[in-house]
Symmetry: C2
Subunit: 331 residues, 2 copies
Amino acid sequence: MTLDDPAGPVTIETVEAAATRLAGHVRHTPLLSSPFLDEIAGRRILVKPECLQHTGSFKFRGAWSAISALAPELREKGVVAYSSGNHAQGVALAAKMHGIPAVIVMPSDAPQLKLKNTAALGAEVVTYDRHGENREEIGGALAAERGLALIRPYDDPQVIAGQGTAGLEIAADAEALGIDRAEVLVCCGGGGLTSGIGLALEAYRPGFRVRPVEPVGFDDVARSLAAHERLEVIPGSRSICDAVVTPAPGELTFPILDRLCGPGMTASDEDVLFALAQAFRRLKIVLEPGGALSLAAALRQPDRIEGDTVIVVASGGNVDAAVFARALEMA
Amino acid sequence: MTLDDPAGPVTIETVEAAATRLAGHVRHTPLLSSPFLDEIAGRRILVKPECLQHTGSFKFRGAWSAISALAPELREKGVVAYSSGNHAQGVALAAKMHGIPAVIVMPSDAPQLKLKNTAALGAEVVTYDRHGENREEIGGALAAERGLALIRPYDDPQVIAGQGTAGLEIAADAEALGIDRAEVLVCCGGGGLTSGIGLALEAYRPGFRVRPVEPVGFDDVARSLAAHERLEVIPGSRSICDAVVTPAPGELTFPILDRLCGPGMTASDEDVLFALAQAFRRLKIVLEPGGALSLAAALRQPDRIEGDTVIVVASGGNVDAAVFARALEMA
């Protein structure tokens, strides 16, 4: 089940095999809580801070999973990925830890910090013009020319399986707390994290319901789930959640999402900034806007959530200091 | 070993008994790392983020330990503590979770947020005038009048033992990583956390050396360790590290510190702000100035540290948004 077989099924066995490969390399992130957040949410709220994962987001899980699943003779040639942010850093670090080269295709106008970090993690950064060039073509050409394995951001079975290890951790920690029923809100772009968590919880916590949360105006997954078919985002929207503004659910992720997850929720920029400030004040963690969507939905839309426990996956914390300081000021 | 016996010896058995009582109630905080911080520090640096502990600081450990160690008939009458910040919130939450009343004596000019939080955690807040009244006398009088047990901030064997559970976690996590030798830097006020961690590591990681870090100008512990006697802070200094500006090492903590810990280090306000910004950027955690002293010393004084691994206990994250935003701007 490698890139040669992109449509191969992803099952709980795939997720568990990824967990075995990730053991000792990934951080088991905890479930955090605060009585102050419980009060706002009107129920118990548990937050899984994937901002504390290596490189500051869950993306390291899928990157490590995909790289470690490659056949050794393929892996040693190196990997290529395209991303403007979190996937870039996850792939760069996972490649470095495997001792293999990584080429990351990034927009030339990406934030300097993200370009710098990716290079500092040992990757070769190839920039392109977002307005005139196609990153997938560039990535594909590099893969072909140099024999590199392409690590897609979400439409890769091993990437989905790697993200699903976050779901295995939720299942284990919830069991230890005696929690049988909960809604699990997940920040959602292409659906790799949401679908992976869905698979893990289907197997181990079937009383849990996994629900994607997207930015207002980028609710392609929510609408697709309602229609039971893949729909594209409606153009013209803007959001501060740069990490999750994907055009449509993935080809591989959507069937899993459709079978296991929903209904989707959305959160406004204002609610995301509120959640970001609450995470700062009550949990002492740093979230980026796209990583706070799930917390925003839990805190601001309690009437749309069922049951007495909600688990929130806070997916990343790669935010510029200026943006963060502004969020604190506004809240 | 209760308040009736304040000079009772604190041993590794006391720490382990506290760990048993804390199990299931305290968070086992992880060891975080970043290749970017390793590069600055010139060695492997592991950060234990006690800001992620309940109420945002390690103080919850000692509070729970002391309250849970009280005889039931004494405990049910309630507890009293004096503190302007972290100890207040730790005692308030631990008392609430035990279902007993708590009275917290706080300065009337304490930050509104801390007063509000402590009350919101169910405690009765009694304010006093810092310039005309003595908080220890007020606390003692309340204890006597109402039959409340006084929970001192550090000079209590069960408080020291509770803080020492952080050291047991460090020992276990370091063993899992195969680390036999390390320097362990601990933010230090009265010495409860430092001495407790010293006891735990003496027993389980004897190759580790525990070193207190204080603000420049508040180096009473460092000077006391050098002189092998308790010395007071030299008046007239100022620091942004409000949580740790204590006048002298504790009566109970100092013999332990003197036997097990040192030499002490200090960190400047500027270095603390640098560390706070690095923790934001590289670890995605929120530290208060006093909780970043240890990280500041590790990042800015590598030549004063021995060996290839340093473990940093980042003790708390209760910082106002305005102070935090200013630190991000400066760095």
